[in-house]
Symmetry: C2
Subunit: 246 residues, 2 copies
């Protein structure tokens, strides 16, 4: 049987998982997905994910690929996988792609969104999907500060750990903020992200707002190339991988 390469688009609620990537003794998205693929195809496969989301991080459009010798038709993968996957993981699309396609290395850019709940009392409906900050935040300061992060820059100050990273240079293509009642959403697109980069950016914005720092402070933090100059890491639960562009 000929080898085929399949690409899936996944949505998941990361609340009950120790992140995307397989880890011994932990329940992860990758492990559950690979087990379900085995149930329906009888094959042990290894999936490659575009973004290795951390524990508690969600996805609206995670992309994975895997090679298979199974004869299952392209349009049967979505209903078949969803019939065995737990309800907090859904496959939204499945299609055959050239064998060269690799969900991780072929990605041109990824889009993440971070949500802050500014209500005095945290909403029960976003308790797993937003960071509760029950203080007034300076929205226009955060919007203005974000502009200093856009472009091709060294983001070492916004990286939790440099392990295995060759360069700290990433290109942030855009950062858009949106207000929806008590919720603030920050959407960020970049050609790649360093470890915890989005969560450190959000933590830095919140600290700048709390301390009333001018937006240009971002330039000093970037120039320092020192994690300690940026703000704290905002919690995982507010983060969602929105889409991956190829």
């Amino acid at each position: 049987m000929a080898l085929r390469n399949l690409r899936l688009v996944l949505e998941y609620d990361g609340t009950g998982y120790s992140g995307f990537q397989r880890q011994k003794g932990r329940r992860t998205i990758q492990q559950v997905l690979e087990e379900c693929i085995e149930v329906i195809s009888g094959e042990k496969v290894r999936v490659t994910g575009a973004g290795r989301t951390d524990a508690g991080v969600h996805a609206l459009g995670q992309v994975v690929n895997f090679t298979t010798e199974s004869r299952i038709a392209q349009d049967r993968w979505v209903p078949a996988l969803n019939s065995v996957l737990p309800p907090d993981i859904r496959v939204k699309e499945a299609c055959e792609v050239p064998l060269e396609f690799n969900a991780r290395f072929c990605a041109r850019s990824k889009v993440y969104r971070y949500t802050i709940d500014t209500a005095p009392v945290a909403s029960v409906f976003t308790r797993h999907y937003a960071y509760h900050v029950p203080r007034p935040l300076d929205y226009s300061l955060m919007v203005a500060a974000s502009r200093y992060l856009v472009g091709k820059k060294d983001f070492r100050s916004f990286c939790a750990s440099g392990a295995g990273v060759k360069t700290f240079t990433r290109e942030v293509k855009r950062i858009d903020w949106r207000r929806d009642g008590n919720l603030l959403h920050m959407e960020i697109e970049a050609d790649g992200f360093l470890y915890n980069m989005v969560r450190i950016i959000v933590g830095t914005m919140i600290r700048m707002s709390n301390q009333g720092l001018p937006p240009e402070t971002i330039n000093d933090i970037l120039a320092a190339r020192d994690r300690r100059r940026a703000g704290p890491t905002a919690p995982a639960k507010g983060l969602v991988l929105v889409s991956v562009n190829y």
Copy 2:
């Protein structure tokens, strides 16, 4: 100590509860709330809720009241209760009201919202908060049909059980539909609701859309005063009590 009457505004995720009202051997919102009030005040109280939401139904603005002899200051109730309540129930407001106030009998109108997820694959993020109908629905038909429900009418056809009800006449003040991506939201305000009324209205709209019935069909269903003429009862999880007006 003087008797005081306290009014609370509650938000809750009804997924893990057998509805609002106390029932032997079941975990309900009322029971958990009363136990938490006892923990902080030392008093056994009985709360009155404006709407007795069913198992799986949610609330953004449920209103309850109870009388207390406790000395706890008005502005301490919200943080004190939230420190002991489970994270799927939050108190948003607490204030002292005249002793005559009764959350149920003084309500002039209530607003409910019902959400339908029309995406081909159900979103994991609304899996507990929307009814998944993976078929195209005739939005303009449903909007047009809703208009025939507005006004003071006999809603016997839209009532699951007439037990304990003196009259089936209710005044629907408005029905507004809103589209948000794959989600359809129906918001309905009335001076009162019969048992399962909102869920039967939604089930009827969906059936009319599926069968391509004209909007005026609603008049025939109303005139029949017969539950069997209306559509099926839509699932509880799509329903949320938005607010109560006094």
